[in-house]
């Protein structure tokens, strides 16, 4: 029995703490691999110093958690006392039930409904930018409240109802009686409520996501939006620091409790220590964020002309995560450099997919000045009149754009968009397992490699592979073409290991899988971790995509947006971005720069015969879109 019990407890501890230990372990890894430990290093902790975006997101998260927990605790306690004192039975049960409902409601519902409410109220008072710190705070207080009430109410019920009368009897005013006697009696409930609120607020993603606007970002949102690439190991370092801090605080709290009965001095010391730790952390973080801002490389020479007429205004930029050079590893901090040059404050936030960005712009809940969507999405947004024409007279650096990226199908007259990055899909394979050099997409359907094959876990890219393999038009308006591709994909299910997006890095780096289609720029990240990996563009052709800078109709700071677009095209800026992002640049000043480390790189800048054999994805007819999405569901479940 006792052995079984010990095993059980050991297993429980392993399940609880193994993930945290693994994360802590890899935060000291000298490479960015999540599968191979290449040596002890503190470099991710050091890099954290440069990541002012994450540090400020963490700061936001902590401020938000503390504020919302404090306010919710005060309001919730008052509400609980009110409910407790209510005599009428029906009123009381109604109030209790009503406060409990938000806890049962799915977060997504709460998030969406709060966003709608905030946007609606803002429109009533005629405010364009509805969402921000205030709305997130309101939302967090809202979902924290029931937990406080739920913790305080039972404590009130347990408390002798005569306590407050006894205090009044001994000379306290009713308010003093509540503070001196009832409050200490229900304090454990209040404290638990506070801690629960703090924790819930700390890791809330869904509700924050819907209610935060352009200007405000929490840590969960930041980490979640880092998915254009992978989650950076600096996040392991950050999470480790957070975890250790919480651990230390918990130990201190427990120590102060267990010493309680022996002496009076120790708990007081412990309390002082806890407060000191908190203060130290806040100070350290503030210090780090100030230092990290100053450490950043922002020095730059510019070609275009920039004035400071718009200094003091704010520019809201909405881009993919990890899609701009941000000062990490002594690279150029593009946004800070722009701020320094023009005095315009850049508010930078991330999206994870074109569809998500589209939904947010369409909802009109936030006023972005700059967005960077992909080709087909630009096509759709132009059709729906969601984009503003650009004033090219203010974008002198447009002349650097390669002729091959002008007059593209989605913006044939070059009115709405300026290309930012170019990418192509290719085939990544492990040369240790796949010994012959593949040249066709067919290898992804080859039973010899069954169990070693990965493919995209998004419909358009997955269909694309099948369509290229079958020689079909990727933008076909013929349903039969799509059905054929779907059959091909169903056939592929037999040999497939998994459909993946970000997990592709881990699986390919560790040798867990041998074949995967993915974006060319990301190949180098994987190659860094596993030298056996190779890349090829299959002979049937492949997908090419362009992400371009656009300005939505809802933009508030159009002139600053023009200045920013021109700035992104600056040779030094574009070079820094190209080096950082690892995607192909459409900027000739980069392509022809001798110092560019990817100059003439055969993968990022393949020869003309490969480039000419590519297709853009177009925005399809809604009917076709619905049709292939239904096929996609069938593919995934069969």
């Amino acid at each position: 029995m006792s052995i079984l019990r010990k095993i059980f407890i050991a297993l429980m501890l392993v399940f609880l703490y193994a993930p945290l230990l693994v994360m802590t372990f890899f935060s000291f890894n000298s490479s960015s691999s999540t599968s191979v430990f290449e040596g002890f290093s503190l470099k991710w902790y050091e890099q954290l110093l440069y990541d002012s975006e994450s540090i400020s997101a963490l700061q936001n998260t902590l401020i938000l958690a503390v504020l919302s927990a404090v306010i919710a605790t005060v309001l919730g306690t008052v509400a609980a006392v009110g409910i407790y004192k209510t005599k009428k039975g029906i009123l009381k049960t109604t109030m209790t039930t009503v406060t409990n409902i938000p806890m049962m409601t799915p977060e997504i519902v709460t998030g969406v409904s709060l966003m709608l409410l905030f946007v609606f109220m803002a429109s009533l008072v005629g405010k364009k930018e509805a969402l921000g710190f205030g709305t997130v705070l309101c939302a967090h207080i809202t979902f924290n409240l029931p937990y406080v009430i739920l913790n305080v109410l039972p404590k009130l019920k347990q408390t002798d109802s005569h306590l407050s009368e006894a205090a009044e009897d001994l000379g306290c005013t009713p308010i003093k009686a509540f503070l001196k006697v009832v409050l200490p009696a229900i304090y454990p409930g209040i404290f638990t409520g506070f801690i629960m609120s703090f924790t819930l607020s700390l890791d809330d993603f869904v509700i924050s996501y819907f209610t935060s606007g352009t200007a405000f970002q929490t840590l969960p949102i930041r980490i979640y939006s880092m998915t254009k690439k992978t989650v950076k190991p600096t996040m392991y370092a950050l999470s480790t620091i957070i975890f250790l801090t919480v651990l230390i605080l918990l130990i201190l709290v427990n120590l102060s409790k267990s010493e309680n009965k022996k002496s009076k001095l120790r708990p007081r010391l412990m309390k002082i220590a806890s407060v000191a730790v908190c203060v130290a952390i806040v100070t350290a973080m503030t210090g780090v964020s100030i230092i990290s801002r100053n450490l950043k490389n922002t020095s730059i020479g510019v070609v275009g002309e920039y004035d400071r007429e718009l200094a003091g205004t704010t520019l809201n930029v909405y881009n993919w995560g990890e899609y701009i050079s941000d000062g990490t590893d002594d690279t150029l901090d593009v946004n800070s450099a722009f701020e320094k040059l023009t005095g315009i404050k850049v508010n930078y936030s991330y999206f994870e997919s074109n569809e998500e960005m589209y939904a947010k712009i369409k909802a009109g809940s936030s006023a972005y000045d700059i967005i960077i969507p992909s080709d087909y999405m630009i096509h759709r947004m132009i059709k729906e009149n969601m984009l503003k024409k650009l004033d090219f007279s203010k974008i002198s650096n447009y002349s650097y754009i390669d002729e091959g990226y002008k007059n593209l199908y989605f913006d044939p007259d070059n009115e709405y968009s300026v290309p930012y990055n170019v990418g192509m899909v290719g085939l990544i394979y492990n040369s240790k397992i796949v010994t012959e050099k593949p040249d066709s997409w067919e290898i992804l359907f080859d039973s010899r490699y069954a169990g070693n094959i990965l493919t995209f876990n998004n419909s358009r890219d997955a269909f694309g592979i099948a369509q290229f393999a079958l020689g079909l038009d990727v933008n076909s308006s013929n349903k039969e073409d799509w059905a054929k591709a779907a059959n091909k994909l169903i056939e592929q299910n037999k040999v497939l290991q998994a459909r993946v997006m970000d997990e592709v890095f881990n699986k390919m780096e560790s040798g867990n899988a041998a074949l995967a289609p993915y974006y060319a720029g990301d190949f180098y990240t994987m190659k860094d971790a596993n030298d056996d990996l190779e890349f090829v563009y299959p002979k049937e052709g492949t997908n090419i995509f362009v992400d371009s800078v656009c300005v939505p109709q809802t933009a508030q700071n159009y002139d600053a947006a023009m200045m920013y677009i021109n700035f992104l095209l600056e040779p030094e800026v574009a070079l820094a971005n190209a080096e950082y992002i690892c995607y192909a640049s459409p900027n000739t000043s980069v392509i022809n720069n001798e110092e560019y480390s990817f100059k003439d790189d055969p993968i990022l800048y393949p020869p003309e015969e490969i480039k000419s054999n590519t297709q853009y994805y177009h925005d399809l007819d809604p009917e076709i879109r619905d049709y292939y999405e239904s096929l996609w569901t069938k593919v995934r479940i069969s």
Binding site: D160, H162, L163, E165, A166, A167, E168, D169, L170, G171, C172, T173, P174, K176, A177, K180, V181, P184, A185, Y187
Partner: protein, 374 residues
């Protein structure tokens, strides 16, 4: 010399949710007396106490303290302190801090507080337990802390709301004596609320018997016991056989078909009355010597005495005796004139004093129901 009234209640009425809890109550409480409000649950005794404490305001009527009207004066400004039924000790404070609470609120100097608390602890025999936490104390000890806490403030009047109800019988008896001793030592007014008649009789200078929001009788324990004013009081205080009677003339009454000499007078001739005979005042004799004759229908042994139910012409009498009798015995009852007490007819007539439905079980059930209702 007649003592001054410290508390006066004048024509007080209180209703909760349309239910009359106190109905035109008048009561004068003298300085330094030990007065007990006695009655079944729901009689309004606790409500009366809360009125004096200031936790409740009357719908009509006045509360006077030392001759001054104190309606509307909040509890924390009144010179009274309360000992609550479940003590309401502050769980987050130790014994010392609980007792010091009132003094701290009044911002007394630390030295005075220290002396005062020490004095209180001596008074209630808790010296040495200053640092103990409330939840580590026994029920009796908690009770003492509650007393010390309430009197540390030097109240002129101490209100006690069934303070002994939660203690077991033995402890309760000890605490009764101790409370009485403390009251004499401090020389302040105690207003004590209880539903336990024995407790009321043991401790009080005066007892106020209440029912239905009204005072039924006020008097010394002896008065209340020996000269109950109506069937309710007679039944509530101790056991009573209450039978219908007719006052033939002064000092001469007829009941149960027989005529008896008695010590009461002042009734109209042939006035219908309630006749009270206490069970311990009846002697059981042989049938031929008895004034009343009947048959024993039940016998219960209670230790000090037997409780015997005798059927006399359909009316069941309770008799307490130290002699043993058996069910089915034919016995005679002998009643001395001074054992007979005559009361005027009241709304309670006919409701009490017949033991035909009496059983030990019933009594216990009633008691339990009463406690649950508290």
């Amino acid at each position: 010399m007649e003592k001054e009234n410290i508390v006066e209640l004048k024509n007080i009425s209180v209703a909760f949710d349309g239910e009359q809890v106190l109905d035109g109550l008048n009561l004068e409480i003298k300085d330094k007396e030990f007065i007990t409000l006695l009655g079944p649950s729901g009689c309004g005794k606790t409500t009366t106490l809360r009125l004096i404490a200031g936790f409740l305001e009357p719908d009509s009527g006045d509360v006077l303290f030392g001759g001054e009207k104190i309606n509307g004066v909040p509890a924390y400004k009144r010179q009274v302190n309360t000992i609550f039924q479940r003590y309401a000790l502050f769980p987050h404070l130790n014994v010392y801090e609980n007792i010091a609470f009132g003094l701290r609120v009044k911002k007394r100097p630390e030295k005075e507080i220290k002396e005062k608390v020490a004095e209180m602890l001596r008074l209630v025999n808790l010296t040495g337990l200053e640092k103990r936490h409330i939840d580590t104390l026994s029920g009796g000890q908690q009770q003492r802390v509650a007393i010390a806490r309430a009197i540390a403030n030097h109240p002129k009047v101490l209100l006690l709301d069934e303070p002994l109800a939660a203690l077991d019988l033995k402890l309760r008896k000890d605490m009764q004596k101790e409370l009485k001793k403390i009251q004499e030592q401090l020389g302040i007014t105690f207003i004590f609320v209880t539903h336990d008649q024995e407790e009321a009789l043991t401790m009080s200078d005066r007892v106020v018997v209440m029912d239905g929001g009204k005072i039924q009788q006020v008097g010394s324990p002896q008065d209340i016991y020996n000269e109950p004013q109506n069937a309710f009081v007679a039944d509530f205080i101790g056991e009573s056989n209450i039978v219908d009677g007719k006052m033939l003339r002064d000092y001469y009454v007829e009941f149960s078909g027989q005529k008896f000499d008695c010590l009461d007078k002042g009734f109209n001739e042939n006035e219908l009355v309630d006749v009270v005979v206490r069970p311990e005042d009846v002697d059981i004799v042989s049938p031929e010597k008895g004034m009343l004759k009947g048959q024993v229908t039940s016998v219960a042994f209670l230790g000090v005495h037997y409780e015997i139910i005798v059927d006399i012409g359909g009316f069941k009498w309770m008799i307490q005796t130290t002699d043993e009798h058996f069910v089915g015995d034919n016995v005679g009852l002998f009643i001395e004139p001074d054992a007979i007490h005559i009361m005027k007819k009241s709304e309670y007539s006919g409701l009490y004093g017949d033991y035909s439905s009496y059983s030990e079980e019933m009594d216990e059930m009633n008691e339990m129901a009463e406690e649950a209702a508290e």
